[in-house]
Amino acid sequence: MISFLGFSIRRAWQGFWRNAAMSLAATATMTLMLMLLAGFWVVQAGLLAGLDFAEQKVQVVADLNDNTTASALTTLENEVKAQPAVRSVEYISKDQALANFRASRSEQGQDDLSTYLQTNPLPASLNVSLFRAADYGPVADILRADPNVQRVTNIADLAARLTTISEFLRTGGIVLLGVVGAIVLFIIINTIRLAVLGRAEEIEVMRLVGASDAFIRWPFVFEGALVGLLGAVLTLGVLGAAADPLGRMMVDFFQILPLRVGSISRDVAVLVLGTGLGLGVLGAWVSVRTYLIR
């Protein structure tokens, strides 16, 4: 068994370098395809992270009557916090609301209209952040039922739109990833098939001198694995070198996105290595099988 493994690995290594042009072409194709797959994965992960961020920004805002007592406010606040869909609750006083309004006007470079008013017309409010925009219903109901609540902003439209976009991106992303994956699979298997085809004579000689299927197949499978691993390592190398400038570009483009770079790069490494190795082995297995059926 050990000598068989030794033979297969030695032959795979020799086979790779003795047909260097074909092997390197297969490795280059593997690298390009894995980069395509990884690039697509990163974009998809970025979009979904952006979407999560947007969902977190969605708030149910309840404007409160000016005469709401502190104890009534605490009761309402606790009731809302107890809801599982609620991430956090923030109380904005009338003064704070006015300050926020002024800040936002000045940020937009517009006049502060509030200086024309004698009194502060803005109500105090409870700003409720949710985990998912789609779960706003029960929270809004509780707020509306409270006599101290003047008005609850209607986020039904916004929630529905976000949910639609989110579902579309998730489903579309998976479908597209599947399509890209299938194209990558097809191209890589065909490239490896070409590499094996170039060695048809060798396989024929092996068959004629009475080599068993395992002795014919495994060196090619190891060679396929080598092509896959090499392609994966090259891909990760390129991605690693490009990660910083790309990451900065993404942050600039999307403004501040809380992308968890660590977990994405771990996922991409697993994806690239797994896909490279898997496709290399599968491609070689399928290609050699054609010759073994007889």
Binding site: S3, L208, V209, A211, S212
Partner: protein
């Protein structure tokens, strides 16, 4: 005929079995005449390809151990198909092909390599691997059948000496003449110590002088006890040697005589 020297050498796979087996296989019949065990038996074999073309029709052939048989016939007569059946590259549509006691149609797929190791095959185009030296090409046949490293070296040196290529062992096929390439192919065919050597037009690509060299080598191998079946177009060779001649025409055996000439029957 002296059979012993080659077959008695220690084989890579079955050190002493070859010679002992041979002694046991030689039988004397009730009439006192020595009977040799058949290496190859074709029993009423027909091969029709899926496109309907009949390549072989009702072929009967028995080749006893130690025979030298010429297989002659024009292109398309069925020689190549017959050889494909013998190495189980194809299966007979009807009839039986028995090689060294194994019915090839009934053979489990995993046992096919074992049967192929009993056959040493030589082609017109040599089928040598260009990226391997002479020695590596020969050793390759043993490596891919799982022979231990310690046995490969001596077995390769033995066949290199037999075909006279010891000096050229480190050269690549592209550095060799046609005759040397074919001798390398013969050495590779012999390194397994096969029961039968099948040569498909082995001199087809060679000039007459080199062809005779190759033929001398095959005759020598036959004298050492290996059965040889050689498909050829070379009328001079067949007529001069007066060995057994099996002639195929349109897939049928039209002549099977010992000491015959090439004699096309057309």
């Amino acid at each position: 005929m002296t059979l012993a020297p080659f077959r008695n050498r220690r084989s890579a796979h079955a050190p002493d079995e070859a010679s002992e087996g041979r002694a046991a296989r030689r039988r004397t019949g009730p009439d006192g005449v020595e009977r040799r065990r058949p290496v190859l038996v074709l029993n009423n074999v027909t091969k029709t390809y899926p496109n309907g073309r009949s390549a072989l029709r009702e072929v009967d052939l028995v080749v006893p151990e130690g025979d030298f048989v010429f297989l002659v016939g024009q292109s398309g007569a069925g020689k190549s198909t017959l050889i494909k059946l013998l190495i189980r590259d194809e299966l007979a549509t009807e009839g039986q092909v028995v090689l060294d006691g194994d019915d090839l149609a009934r053979l489990a797929r995993r046992k096919v390599p074992m049967v192929r190791r009993k056959v040493g095959i030589i082609f017109q185009d040599f089928k040598l691997l260009p990226t391997k030296t002479v020695r590596e090409n020969i050793a390759f046949a043993l490596e891919v059948t799982g022979t231990s490293h310690g046995r490969i070296g001596p077995a390769v040196e033995r066949v290199l000496r037999l075909v006279g290529l010891t000096q050229q062992a480190g050269q690549y096929p592209s550095q060799l003449s046609g005759g040397e390439q074919q001798r390398t192919a013969i050495a590779r065919a012999l390194v397994h110590d096969p029961r039968i050597v099948i040569a498909d037009e082995p001199t087809g690509n060679l000039d007459p002088l080199i062809s005779w060299e190759i033929l001398q080598l095959l005759l020598r191998i036959n004298e050492l006890g290996v059965t040889v079946l050689m498909a050829t177009h070379d009328a001079d060779v067949v007529t001069a040697l007066r060995k057994r001649v099996v002639a195929l025409e349109e897939g049928r055996v039209v002549r099977d005589e010992v000491g015959g000439g090439y004699h096309r029957t057309t």
